[in-house]
Symmetry: C2
Subunit: 212 residues, 2 copies
Amino acid sequence: MSALAEKPPTKYGVVVFPGFQALDVFGPVDALNNYSQTAPLEFALLAATMDPVSTKLAQPGAIGQSVVPTHTFDDCPDLEVLLVPGGVGNRDPAVRAPIVEFLKRIYPKLRFLLTVCTGSVIVAESGLLDGRRATSNKRSWDWAISQGPNVQWVRQARWVVDGNIWTSSGVSAGIDLMFAFIKDQYGEETSKRLADKAEYVRNPDSGVDPFA
Amino acid sequence: MSALAEKPPTKYGVVVFPGFQALDVFGPVDALNNYSQTAPLEFALLAATMDPVSTKLAQPGAIGQSVVPTHTFDDCPDLEVLLVPGGVGNRDPAVRAPIVEFLKRIYPKLRFLLTVCTGSVIVAESGLLDGRRATSNKRSWDWAISQGPNVQWVRQARWVVDGNIWTSSGVSAGIDLMFAFIKDQYGEETSKRLADKAEYVRNPDSGVDPFA
């Protein structure tokens, strides 16, 4: 990783699936939305089909919100950065299968792969984290690491960078991961400006993890 | 406000409009989504029409995401709590007008009205904050307070409670507001459990505002 990338990325994609965690997506993505107000970006919200995708669980009384995909996994535009969120929906093998397939296919074309929460579990299942250091949700830790026996799981970490794969801890940790990624790619000034705009106090140290 | 409300609310609504700030909505709402996994809630995403609503600004290169409303302002179900987010889309009087109209109509039926960021500006325009203490986004502070000359604006505040209206500072402050509201209505144990689940370090003191 360079302190300032020679050519910062401008093409982002985010995976969604039924039962994704809303903040895993909209924490990091809100920072990108704000960034794009001063420097152009391209963005794709990717799902198995073009139908709206809900955060809602199939559980009586559970509430959720639906988002509209812009592309399917089979119709993915050129991307430089892909973000995979978590959410208990990914416990369903039928939900994970098309994402795992997509990850195997798209990863060689990506510059960076980012995960939030149990998004790392789907990436682990794809084999892309084998032999790499990574982290995941701390509340689902035992389950998460059991899904990736060949991953060097790091428990005490707000986020972990190994090569071009950035993995974060649970839910709100994705916001810190994104501000760290923005710092790495666009510089500290931009990261601070965007965090201040969101009135967000960054956790700037990947090793500081109050939830480990 | 009581430390533990006698009958905690279960019916929530959130307003969206073109150019709303994604994290203003999905920070607080993610906590409600998680709460609903153990205790039933009802939820309405309210907009002027049933068309998908984008966070995107009409600006070249700006990116955004679209959400699907569940109800229109004219077809609003029974609500106990309404949350109004901010976002630069609300600088457009044509965007604000139907929301102001809706707020005037719905407020007498609500138990609580919550705002995030410049959501308080729309509520101020409705007159509901006249004579009340309230806060808003600190980056748009001068504009915000100019829109509500009869409001007792409080600059140094992560959030402010006056009667049954809770207003927060910018963007991520909405997460702290929601965890404070959850603490007030459902108890500290529930607030802490949900914050821990999101691996979120709460700002528990409404007067602590690093961005004032």
